[in-house]
Symmetry: C2
Subunit: 312 residues, 2 copies
């Protein structure tokens, strides 16, 4: 019998990237993303800010979320307020709809009121002043797509409207028909093919940078819209904390490959036109939501750790 057939990897695993932080000379002409990461420089990476990072703790482990105040400042501020008040602790994932979203919140309205009761919509923002590295590939939905501060994004034009895009792992704010009801007490993570129809209809407030597999592998709900029919099916949330409020020993500082550096363009090109022996026909193009956004562990700076310790 032939040996087991392998498919080449499409996703860069954070752990794989983290294993290769020392640039070896043998990858002078990288042909894969991993090889490219291996020749990156420290300046190609940006620390993920612990002041805008959520640790969502499940019994299965930690989901780490980078927040996006540049796209939804009021919503992010309110979510951070809720996290500081430990408001999310003890809530649960109540809905997991296949190829769509995993959603958590307070279905029984059991929590005391903290933070804003209504917020103005932050579905889009002005493109003016927003850094934007354009992706040249055509997009079905938007006239311009690209990356801003590490987030997949779109805009109508350089002086028009801009918004974060619903790619896999995006964190969005659930709401009723009234946009002002989106305040951050119900949140969802995209776990399927990008539901781009939600773009400009929801505030995107972050993206999962580690642990997405803990959400995407949850049992799907059998109820309408993927809600769990029985309360005991819900997946409890132990806590949601800002990384900056967690003791240093419990933190795992991360860094993300910058999207505004030349090596990121090389990464995109390697994915547009694969060079390994497995591929017979290069795609020639790439979809915004298929561009890898590498994240890896970084060494914590001691002074940051001390600062957090004092804050406890």
């Amino acid at each position: 019998m032939p040996t087991p057939r392998l498919l080449v990897p499409v996703l860069l695993l954070a752990t794989a990237a983290a294993a290769a932080q020392t640039p070896p000379k043998k990858f002078a002409q990288p042909t894969t993303v991993r090889e490219l990461i291996a020749v990156s420089q420290p300046s190609d990476w940006r620390p993920i800010d612990p002041e805008h990072t959520l640790y969502l703790e499940l019994s299965s482990g930690r989901v780490t979320i980078e927040l996006a105040p540049q796209f939804a400042p009021k919503h992010v501020a309110n979510i951070e307020k809720l996290a500081r008040a430990h408001w999310y602790d003890g809530l649960a994932f109540v809905r997991v709809q296949d190829n769509f979203v995993a959603q958590f919140g307070d279905p029984l309205n059991s929590k005391p009121e903290v933070g804003e009761k209504r917020l103005p919509a932050e579905f889009t923002r002005s493109a003016a002043g927003l850094p934007f590295v354009r992706l040249k590939d055509p997009d079905t939905f938007a006239s311009e797509v690209g990356f801003s501060g590490g987030f997949p994004a779109a805009r109508t034009s350089a002086d028009g409207e801009a918004w974060a895009v619903h790619c896999y792992g995006a964190l969005g704010v659930g709401r009723d028909n009234d946009p002002a009801t989106a305040i951050g007490t119900e949140l969802y993570v995209v776990i399927g093919h990008a539901p781009r129809q939600l773009d400009r209809n929801v505030a995107i407030v972050g993206r999962v940078v580690a642990g997405i597999e803990l959400l995407s592998s949850l049992p799907r709900g059998n109820g309408e819209l993927g809600f769990y029919e029985q309360p005991e099916e819900r997946v409890p949330i132990q806590s949601v904390r800002l990384a900056s409020e967690v003791p240093a020993a419990e933190r795992k500082p991360l860094e993300a490959l910058r999207t505004d550096v030349p090596i990121f363009q090389k990464l995109i090109e390697l994915r547009r036109n694969r060079k390994d022996a497995w591929y017979k026909v290069p795609a020639g193009k790439i979809d915004l939501c298929n561009v890898p956004l590498p994240v890896r562990e970084r060494a914590e700076k001691p002074e940051k750790a001390d600062k957090a310790e004092k804050r406890r």
Copy 2:
């Protein structure tokens, strides 16, 4: 506190569609896919052929796969031969890579040889003679996309090459670097954002029409490329059978909404421009892989059941 925030559903659940097979007059102007399905006619549906349907049985339930002989006739024939020989029984899912694929096969090469040892590549086929209902929306990868026999597909032109597209739920044939090693002894199902870079590099042989959630919710593998590191993590396959070879009492006949009927165009338009109160900004466009392909249970015709009974 406000009531729980809901997101409108993006996916039509087969069960939901099945619940509404009688056209009620109140949906004369449908505004949702479910309402549209409710006013469909029997002739808008096509039975899914049990001769080209696989039942993949896991301890958690059944995954139903419609095969696509129109795109990869030799590969489908070999897979059907393997299924008839019960060759897949007792194998396992060995790899589940997040936002990519769930893959099964024979990692220990423990099975006797059945069927072809090598096959010519069937990554594309001639577009001539292939029914093709074009989707007008722009696509990042292909000059023309649309639907053929219920499958998302692409082509270079009406007399060029055509291929089935890697949307969520697609079943593809794993292989080594040599295309001839793709024979159907290792298969994968897409469980993430469409990996369109695989298009034209792999034979697509089918799509999951029921039970995809049993695969997409599997634990992700911690090894390289999402392989399970420990053999005991692998997810056993009880059996893979052609639906036509299963006793009538164990079958669940399905039918799919035809993609070459006017109501399917109405469905697409309802998804391009949502009409319910939740959406504030219609997308105006739709991605090929976000078009719902409704499937529902159908009443089995008695003669079909008898035929299968006799074949046991």
